[in-house]
């Protein structure tokens, strides 16, 4: 059965349909709803972190400025820059400049991959120092490791998912299988991932700085 025909019917009949109260294509609305839901998911994990931190008399604050906080700052810069390149990609896509849009998408993808790579290197460093989900080499609360790896891990999963999506959309946009709306939808997701990091970084890194 031809799903694309059905899609066309669903979305082409605008002349005979009511105005949507938000005036944006359904794909964008759905991504906003997903982002809302995902924000609640991150909030739940951050709530768990806060609840356990407040309840732990022996909470560790292991992050020295060098290397941990500095590394985190660089990662933040990388992710923020990827937000800028994403904005550029959306602008180019909306203006119909396919080649430029594709390049900006690939730039975003690369920056996202760089972020993920730096993150994994940081994890490796922490694991070498003895940190685990259930182990604290400084002798303090083991909840630190659990909270750290779970929160950053959840975020990292979202980054990796975004990097894959960016690659798929970049390829498809170049071949004109995807349009500027698809790029915008991905942009909403990518900016959300960036926004979450702006909570994770202060709450997990800065609050646990030595």
């Amino acid at each position: 059965m031809d799903v694309s025909e059905l899609d066309a019917t669903i979305h082409a009949g605008h002349a005979g349909m009511e105005e949507s109260p938000y005036g944006i294509p359904s794909g964008k609305l759905a991504m906003w709803c997903f982002v809302l839901s995902d924000a609640v998911t991150f909030s739940a994990v951050l709530f768990a972190y806060g609840y356990l931190r407040i309840g732990s008399p022996d909470w560790s604050t292991p992050f020295t400025f060098v290397p941990s906080v500095l590394n985190g700052l660089v990662m933040t810069f990388v992710l923020l820059t990827s937000g800028l390149t994403m904005l550029a990609a959306v602008e180019a896509a909306k203006a119909g400049r396919t080649a430029a849009g594709t390049r900006w998408l690939w730039a975003t993808c690369a920056l996202g991959a760089l972020f993920a790579g730096m993150h994994l290197m940081e994890w490796r460093h922490m694991i070498e120092e003895g940190w685990r989900l259930f182990q604290n080499p400084l002798g303090g609360s083991v909840e630190f490791g659990a909270a750290f790896f779970c929160i950053t891990g959840l975020h990292l999963l979202h980054v990796l998912g975004g990097v894959c999506a960016l690659a798929v959309i970049a390829l498809g946009f170049h071949r004109q299988r995807y349009n500027s709306i698809d790029v915008e939808v991905l942009g909403i997701y990518w900016h959300f991932v960036d926004l979450v990091w702006m909570f994770v970084f202060p709450l997990v890194y800065l609050m646990n700085a030595r």
């Binding site: 009949g13 349909m17 759905a30 768990a48």
Partner: protein, 591 residues
């Protein structure tokens, strides 16, 4: 205005061919709705059989239930149920019913089928994602059911799986090994399916309404599905990470929910630093909105069906929608009322009690509006309308017991007794199920093009209506007497005298359960022998009655409908007939 001009044609497209594309991996919201409904039907019969096994054991604890050892040789050696197997069956009963029946049927089932049609769309906004949401839900169900077949059986921790019982692993008892893992994985998968479904419902309701279908002209059922999907979007988003954290505690050595120094079955547990109350906060932050996810579609469905059989609109339709929104909003503020005596700061109990009591107000308003609407009506009694009227009665009964439990001082005594069991069964197992029955009798002619047997439906209603009162009303008295819940058997001096009441309840449950086979038989009979259904057998007004029974692939046969009227124009003064369909071009002059 001619029919053709009123409904300009749109691009006609081809229906899918082949059995797999049509009925299995279908992107058609109608098939997906039927698939969800079918899954719920299987689940409800499994859940009901589990409840029979539980009830027989509670009435006659040493009775050897024939064949039970085939289900589990360790759980029922010699066909006599062990206490741990009782808890396994109880946990599965609750889990299956809450998730796979009460979230599936009234919301995913009927909602998927009728929301696009009621707004005038040819399908949901994202048909492929819709198909995925069903198959994800089915996988969740299969993973959950797999726990029946692992060696230690399903988890024994109750559908609420409180930590640390659920988190420390098999030291804490049978069923707490693989069975608990499967539960957590299944429910996490279920959350994903619900999320995908919610996205579709929201986008379709906001974006795909046909011309003239303003938000205020939406039927109550569509409003209910829309509000429910918003609640679900946020609620399941919390259950998902909670289940993941539980899985990590069980398998990866974390201690989110497990404090230090626990000695379980003589083993000192290696975990430290976690909090059992954290699980409860996360779970109930989901769990309370979940029960409103179960009841709001029911409220919407009953409000939608009643006007057709009263031949008048409901009183205060905007108020009813407002009540649904208020209930949805308040549902996020009350989760602590499940935790009054949990060990959380007792001051919080007072804070949670206030919004809990306040939720009574919109619920009462809605109930009074229903009752007031029956005044001066011209009632037509069909299986659908009888279940709607029955719904009002059982909703009152269930709601009133909630009023007791909402007060912490009273909950001190009634918490974890059969009074609570009575309350949630009345509102969920009875009221919501009545709405599912009403919806089935009302919409089955539209869905499969055949009329259901009215005689069988009415017999089904009468036995069920009297039966549920016989089952669940006595549980209030048991609760007041101090009968603790989740007990596999009653062996002590205090509770033994109450066993005859349990036996009465069991008999009522078995008889009422047997009556559900009348319903099942009716469904099967209808499918093969039911008389052909006309387009509009109930002379109802909403958009689903403006198309054939069943509707064609794109719902309206290529027509783009135009809506001219509100959803419940029955008995309109100045109209030609006793009802005006939403799509009717008739212009009614107010008198």
């Amino acid at each position: 205005m001619s029919e053709a001009a009123a409904h300009p044609a749109v691009h006609q497209h081809t229906a899918p061919t082949g059995f797999i594309r049509k009925y299995v991996f279908s992107v058609d919201h109608k098939i997906i709705g039927l698939q969800y409904y079918g899954l719920a039907l299987v689940a409800v019969f499994v859940g009901m059989v589990l409840s029979w096994l539980m009830r027989i054991h509670l009435g006659w604890a040493t009775f050897a239930i024939p064949g039970l050892h085939l289900l589990s040789s360790t759980g029922a050696p010699g066909n006599v149920m062990t206490p741990e197997y009782y808890l396994s069956l109880m946990t599965m009963h609750g889990t299956i019913m809450v998730f796979f029946v009460l979230t599936n049927a009234p919301f995913s089932g009927f909602g998927n089928y009728f929301l696009p049609i009621q707004v005038g769309a040819p399908d949901m906004a994202f048909p492929r994602m819709n198909m995925m949401s069903f198959w994800v839900t089915l996988v969740a169900f299969l993973v959950l059911m797999a726990s029946f077949f692992v060696s230690d059986g399903p988890t024994i921790a109750g559908w609420t799986v409180y930590a640390p019982l659920s988190a420390v692993g098999k030291d804490a008892g049978p069923g707490l090994a693989m069975g608990q893992n499967l539960w957590a994985v299944a429910i996490a998968i279920f959350c994903v399916g619900q999320l995908l479904g919610s996205l579709n419902f929201i986008a379709t309701t906001l974006d795909l309404r046909t011309k003239g279908m303003s938000l205020l002209r939406l039927p109550f059922s569509t409003w209910a599905w829309f509000i429910t999907s918003v609640i679900g979007l946020l609620a399941f988003a919390v259950l998902l990470p909670a289940c993941v954290l539980l899985i990590l505690d069980r398998t990866a050595g974390t201690s989110f929910f497990i404090p230090g120094g626990l000695v379980v079955s003589d083993h000192l547990q290696p975990h430290t630093g976690g909090s059992p109350l954290l699980w409860q906060h996360l779970f109930w932050f989901f769990g309370h909105p979940e029960v409103y996810i179960a009841i709001l579609p029911a409220i919407g469905i009953v409000s939608h069906i009643l006007p057709a059989f009263m031949r008048k609109p409901l009183l205060g339709p905007r108020v009813i929608v407002g009540c649904m929104v208020a209930i949805g909003f308040l549902s996020y503020m009350v989760w602590g009322h499940h935790m009054f005596v949990s060990g959380m700061n007792p001051f919080s109990a007072l804070l949670f009690s206030v919004p809990t009591l306040i939720i009574t107000i919109p619920a009462t308003i809605a109930t009074l509006l229903w009752i007031g609407s029956v005044y001066g009506a011209k009632l037509r009694f069909t299986s659908a309308s009888l279940f709607c009227l029955g719904f009002i009665s059982v909703f009152i009964s269930g709601g009133i017991s909630g009023f007791f439990l909402a007060q912490p001082s009273i909950d001190t005594y009634l918490h974890a007794t059969y009074f609570v069991v009575a309350h949630f069964h009345f509102v969920m197992a009875v009221a919501a199920i009545f709405a599912i029955f009403a919806g089935t009798y009302f919409w089955m002619p539209k869905m499969i093009g055949r009329m259901m047997n009215e005689t069988l439906g009415q017999i089904h209603f009468w036995i069920t209506f009297v039966g549920v009162y016989c089952i669940f009303m006595p549980m209030h008295y048991l609760g007041l007497a101090g009968n603790v819940r989740r007990y596999a058997a009653f062996t002590d001096d205090f509770l033994v005298p109450l066993i005859p009441v349990h036996q009465f309840i069991t008999i009522a449950a078995l008889v009422t359960g047997a009556a559900q086979f009348i319903f099942l038989f009716n469904l099967i009979w209808t499918r093969f022998r039911g008389p052909k259904a006309p387009d509009n057998p109930w002379n109802a007004t909403s958009l689903e009655w403006s198309t054939t029974s069943p509707p064609p692939f794109d719902n309206f046969g290529g027509r783009q409908l135009v809506v001219h009227h509100e959803a419940y124009e029955y008995g309109v003064a100045g109209s030609a007939g006793d009802y005006v369909m939403q799509t009717s071009p008739e212009v009614v002059k107010p008198q």
